[in-house]
């Protein structure tokens, strides 16, 4: 079942990349996707850890929200990079990560890193060590809005 899902995802990827829809190239596409699925199966990387996560319908909305956060943070950090009088006040702290699956924690850690001004340094099952450029950035992470949103995405079936 998962293999079929992966095959379909790969085939859509092929169609998007290719732009040539003659029989020969499409045939190559069908064979190539089968080869990629076979190799993924041999590597034993087709499991629930990654696949089920990307079928969650709320995930695109979370990404859109994250995009907004990224833009806000970008402007702030870019100002601190360039403006002569600006100050930075870096700090390191442990933030709770309440996600249940490893993919949830990874999504959270990568979201933190994607937002300029905060970088995740180390991850454990229920904690992430974060380096923040300013106290405001640290406060945003500790407010845990991002983590709560990921938990909501994670929780749906």
């Amino acid at each position: 079942m998962r293999l079929v899902g992966l095959y379909l995802a790969l085939f859509v990827f092929w169609l998007l990349m290719s732009g040539h829809y003659e029989a020969l190239i499409l045939g190559f596409g069908i064979v190539s996707c089968a080869a990629a699925v076979y190799i993924a199966r041999r590597k034993d990387i087709v499991d629930d850890e990654t696949l089920s996560w990307y079928l969650k319908p709320k995930l695109p909305f979370y990404w859109l929200w994250l995009l907004g956060q990224i833009l806000k943070a970008n402007v702030d950090v870019a100002k601190r990079c360039v403006l002569p009088g600006s100050r930075i006040d870096p700090c390191v702290f442990l933030a709770p990560a309440d996600q249940e699956t490893s993919v949830g924690v990874v999504t959270y850690a990568n979201s933190i890193t994607l937002t300029p001004g905060t970088v995740s340094m180390q991850t454990w099952d229920h904690e992430i060590r974060v380096h923040a450029l300013t106290r405001d950035g640290a406060r945003d992470v500790l407010g845990d809005e991002m983590g709560a949103r990921i938990c909501r995405v994670e929780g749906e079936q």
Binding site: L6, L10, F13, W14, M17, S18, H20, I25, F28, G29, S32, C33, A35, A36, V37, I39, A40, R42, K43, I45, E49, T50, S102, V103, V105, V106, A109, N110, S120, T123
Partner: protein, 155 residues
């Protein structure tokens, strides 16, 4: 680095797409930049990423060195075989025009087959080179162990 959960999850996610991207580059060589050599390198990079995260020992299970070494020969054989086939059909070496009923199709198929041979060889060579060099420390350590054991026996 299997305990590095962020890397492991992201690599798992990307790996099948890297392989497919390699095959895409392989088969679209005549439409854009690409071809056998690049495709082979990308294909190998999928295995190199796997080896970096799961260790070269596990990667050897996925792509056994014997298969990789056979593939090196196979790729060259495909390349040379296409050339010889066109000679048998009465043309020069790698004279693609004779491989199909008309010259245009012949050129097209000929290039695809030859590029496929190049891709197989390059991928197999890259994987073999990486496995050989990445495994070196283990080999050296084993040799040192043997050397110290012999020293102990001498004493």
């Amino acid at each position: 680095m299997i305990e590095h959960v962020v890397l492991r999850v992201i690599a798992k996610l990307l790996a099948p797409f890297i392989v497919l991207f390699a095959l895409y580059v392989q088969f679209h060589g005549d439409f854009g930049p690409g071809g056998g050599f690049q495709a082979g390198v990308i294909f190998a990079s999928a295995f190199i990423l796997y080896a970096l995260i799961y260790g070269v020992e596990n990667a050897r299970q996925i792509a056994p060195p014997a298969v990789a070494q056979a593939a090196i020969g196979l790729g060259v054989l495909i390349y040379a075989g296409t050339g010889v086939a066109s000679m048998l059909l009465g043309g020069k070496y790698l004279d693609y025009s004779l491989l199909a009923q008309d010259a245009g199709h012949g050129q097209h198929y000929g290039i695809l087959i030859v590029e496929f041979g190049v891709g197989v060889t390059v991928a197999a060579v890259m994987i073999t080179v990486f496995f050989t060099f990445a495994g070196r420390r283990g080999v050296l350590e084993a040799r040192e162990d043997v050397a110290t054991a012999e020293d102990d026996e001498d004493r």
